[in-house]
Subunit: 403 residues, 2 copies
């Protein structure tokens, strides 16, 4: 069988995710990995999850093991809706679709909205997992430049005035890969642009609960609704969230919050894709998360630990990286991004780092266009403090030998 | 927001699944439903699942809650490979991709193989869940007629000689919706056709473990390999399996077994779609299924109970349905199909049946082309014996009032 001649045209835009392939290389226990976006497993609330699982299996076991609705467990949808509501802005359970992680939400939104050759605006750099999913749809990507305050919204407006765009994708808060956050002023301006252009906007927000410093800012979902004078999600923002970073990734529970016509269409895609998300993991997630005092306390603990790791990584970088290198200083999330002098190639540096048993993700996969080869992403949530210090020290040695 | 004007062209081929929408109507506890494809929840091996869950959470809890590989849990892939192997034909773990139910396998295969306007051969009628997933790819479906021995393979050969086809989809064993099985002779002929045409073939096989009478027949995967003289899956068959019918659906664990180049491409789609299937539910499934003596004993018990239900339904139909009506007599699986006189419309009959608190699925959704309106599908695995008798009796009254 000559399979290559049989694969669909869209497969030309597919490749194995660089990040996930690097993660395999780093499976050796002696590697200090800053590569993945893995939460710290020692912080998983295992006791609560075990209790919740016992409760769910003993009280609703047969229901939990049966087929269920494509929309997701009603109580879980209700809880997510409640937690997204604030003041007059009220999200309904009907505005929520449960997905198998927020990656699936991104993928399903593409299937619902994107035709071949559609123009799509993204921050540059942007989340590589979205690119993995969306590139096979054969799109035109417009790159919106970014700085320390997130995307430059004035540049977005120029892009939109020059050409019609079908959708914009963004991680406005503690961006992956840079860790930067769109400022309050720019959120207001962005909401105005979205409303003026009626531009569908995917707000990918896995990290906003993990803020370690600075003042929290409302979501684009909220800004846009306020501007429209809406008290429910009925505008152009599709908000993607997840329990992967606040509870655990292995349960694979994410969601989309959006206007009902979008949810209605996404449910049809969900039926076609995998019928529904695991009944068991939805019930466990609900059983843990419905104790909101526990959930909020757990998140506060995560913030404390991750804040220390962020601070430690920033401080160690300051001590060990050569002065030719710059880096972002995130107020939350899991990542920071390093920029080396233009003549350095992060893939080459990675080889040298792996020889010293240290791993990171080269930045070029996150960029639209042929740039970013001199950048790389560091994760600070997964490695323990002593490993952060040792790994960054080794990386400093590698960098100093190259600059 | 005028969302209708924003949705992608492929959404015109999407609609909510008829079966799943009918299932919602039948949620009232007084309804006797023959509509879904639900296994009997009272037969779920809850004790084993609880034990397995305890073991998995206490022994490998943090691993189970973390991100994992897109290919799936290695031990589970190995177990599935072993159970698909027979004699000289050896399936490798590398030939297996774990999916979120076999619905996801169908959906991912489409993404890997199908371009717009591709010609796809299917049995007529065929599984509606495949149509839900594949129709948005804007395909041309060729209908292969079926009879009591499954698809008429001579007609398939004529179709293939007349026009190039990209892929064929089939449920050769205990077909959904008809319950019929492709005979051994036809399997041999089908394998010859596939090898001659190098035609990619999706063998969707959720039911073959559930045989209640007659002699078992090897899979098309096996027939095709034997014909090629292959001792591993390296031909054109992509075999989709699931634990939904043999253990429980709520865990959402299915798989594809295929040649490595196909698995390799499917892994890329899996990464884009949802990163990986729930780590927890994969580990639980493995922990239950690795005790193969238990698993096989459990399946034997299912076969006994479902055999009685099938026999009871067939016998009650014989007693209560009018002689103008015909039906299939499956040797296994979950369904049989009823054909009424041509002037009757199953959707209209369903309304009358629901007024008597009995539900089924009208057949037209399973057909290519505008036929099958006088057919409907009955499930016999989910309802308890006394409900089967009562429901079929009521259905007989409705049918007699209409023929």
């Amino acid at each position: 069988m000559n399979w290559d001649s049989l694969f669909a045209a869209r497969t030309k835009h597919m490749k194995r995710s660089t990040v996930r392939e690097i993660l395999k290389l780093t499976a050796r226990p002696e590697v200090i990995s800053f590569a993945g976006g893995l939460p710290a497993p020692e912080l998983f609330p295992m006791e609560r999850i075990q209790q919740a699982t016992d409760t769910v299996l003993s009280e609703r076991g047969r229901e939990v093991m049966q087929y269920s609705t494509s929309e997701g467990m009603p109580e879980l949808r209700g809880l997510i809706a409640k937690r997204l509501s604030s003041g007059k802005f009220q999200v309904n359970a009907d505005n929520i679709l449960i997905t198998s992680g927020s990656q699936q939400a991104l993928d399903m939104i593409a299937r619902v909205l994107l035709d071949e050759h559609d123009q799509v605006a993204v921050e540059n750099p942007t989340y590589v997992g979205m690119l993995t999913s969306w590139k096979p749809f054969d799109l035109q990507f417009s790159a919106v430049p970014t700085d320390a305050n997130g995307m430059c919204v004035d540049d977005l407006e120029i892009l939109l005035n020059n050409a019609p765009h079908k959708v914009m994708y963004s991680v406005p808060t503690f961006q992956n890969p840079q860790g930067t956050t769109l400022s309050r002023e720019r959120r207001q301006k962005l909401a105005e642009i979205l409303v003026n252009h009626n531009l569908p906007f995917v707000e990918d927000d896995p990290y906003s609960a993990l803020r370690y410093s600075g003042d929290s800012v409302p979501s684009i979902l909220q800004f846009e609704a306020d501007l429209r004078g809406s008290t429910t999600p009925e505008g152009c923002v599709m908000y993607c969230g997840t329990f992967s970073k606040t509870l655990t990734p292995g349960l694979r529970i994410g969601w989309v919050a959006a206007a009902f016509p979008v949810i209605d269409k996404l449910v049809q895609v969900k039926q076609a894709t995998d019928l529904h998300t695991s009944t068991l993991t939805q019930f466990i997630t609900y059983e843990v998360a419905r104790d909101e005092a526990f959930l909020d306390g757990h998140i506060a603990m995560l913030r404390d630990v991750y804040r220390q790791r962020r601070d430690l990584m920033l401080q160690t970088i300051e001590e060990h990286f050569p002065h030719e290198v710059t880096w972002t200083r995130p107020e939350g999330g899991l990542f920071l991004m390093v920029t080396m002098p233009p003549h350095l190639d992060a893939t080459e540096i990675l080889k040298q780092a792996l020889a010293q048993d240290v791993a990171f993700v080269p930045g070029d996969g996150f960029y639209i266009g042929d740039t970013g080869r001199n950048t790389f992403r560091l994760n600070y949530s997964n490695a323990r403090p002593e490993m952060i210090v040792e790994g960054i020290r080794r990386l400093g040695v590698v960098l100093k030998a190259n600059v």
